[in-house]
């Protein structure tokens, strides 16, 4: 059942990801107008903001999967695998957010980097989850490793609301919310909002597609490791007893 659902999801998600990415290129680079103040540099918003949103989503999924692993009633190695796969994607999208933010920052702010609350907390988020991925690679008993990593994931997620609300809690160079901001006047222009929405949809589909592929790969890696280990043990036993493996 799960397998059929996942395979069906992949068949739909692959073309959906390609289509939405194509739409994003058209509306983000061609049909949406340049901004009055930022000129064409505003087009970086259509990839920078979706990358940040998907990073939040990926770390949210990691946290949820980790919590489900820690809860005895739902404990399954599958949740640990989902957490690891999603965290890897989250790190990639956070890195992309930082690079795109820097590329957007230079023409608009005049600097590549500023010691600003939003930028620093995002960099901290990147390194926290990089540490989480490093923790997953430390050899240990699978159960011990999974529990240790689940706790680390819950701890690391504390930085996500700090990143999100940093522009409200501190005076920052980074702008505040543009879409869900009732005090913003004028609000974001229609075709720009559409391009941003297309970006969020395209990046979300990309994340879901890659999550499924990465999850499958992780399961395959575990299977191959188990088979190689079993073969090595059988070979060693055969050496000791003199019987064929």
């Amino acid at each position: 059942m799960t397998r059929r659902l996942v395979e069906g999801g992949t068949k739909v998600l692959g073309p959906l990801t390609l289509l939405s990415m194509g739409l994003l290129v058209v509306v983000g680079l061609f049909t949406s107008p340049p901004d009055v103040l930022q000129r064409d540099a505003v087009r970086l918003m259509y990839v920078h903001v979706p990358a940040a949103w998907v990073a939040y989503l990926a770390f949210g999924v990691t946290t949820l999967a980790s919590a489900l692993y820690l809860w005895k009633r739902t404990r399954s190695v599958a949740w640990d695998t989902v957490a690891g796969a999603s965290a890897e994607l989250g790190v990639m999208f956070t890195g992309l957010t930082l690079v795109l933010g820097s590329l957007w920052g230079y023409p608009v702010w005049g600097v590549w980097w500023a010691w600003d609350a939003r930028l620093v907390s995002t960099a901290v988020l990147f390194f926290l989850y990089l540490g989480y991925l490093a923790l997953r690679r430390i050899p240990a008993d699978p159960e011990v490793r999974a529990r240790r990593c689940a706790l680390a994931a819950l701890f690391a997620f504390v930085d996500v609301p700090v990143v999100h609300f940093s522009v409200e809690w501190w005076r920052t160079l980074h702008q505040g919310a543009s879409v869900f901001n009732p005090e913003l006047d004028p609000t974001i222009e229609g075709s720009m909002a559409l391009a941003l929405l297309a970006g969020v949809a395209a990046f979300t589909f990309t994340y879901l597609y890659l999550l499924e592929r990465r999850y499958r790969l992780a399961v395959l890696e575990e299977d191959v490791d188990e088979r190689l280990l079993a073969a090595a043990i059988a070979e060693r036993r055969a050496e000791v007893t003199g019987a064929p493996a």
Binding site: L44, Y106, E221
Partner: protein, 45 residues
């Protein structure tokens, strides 16, 4: 540099990062399947 250069640079970085990651995952999956094909073709838990 013009704004267009930063925009194209940013979009190109995005395409390269996402494309490289996707290719890496797909190729490693294929390589592992070829190396040691599981009896059920790769189970999904």
């Amino acid at each position: 540099m013009t704004d267009a250069a930063y925009v194209l640079g940013g979009w190109a970085v995005t395409a390269v990062v996402l494309g490289t990651y996707t290719a890496r995952v797909v190729l490693r999956t294929r390589r592992l399947r070829r190396l040691d094909p599981p009896p059920d073709g790769g189970r999904v838990r």
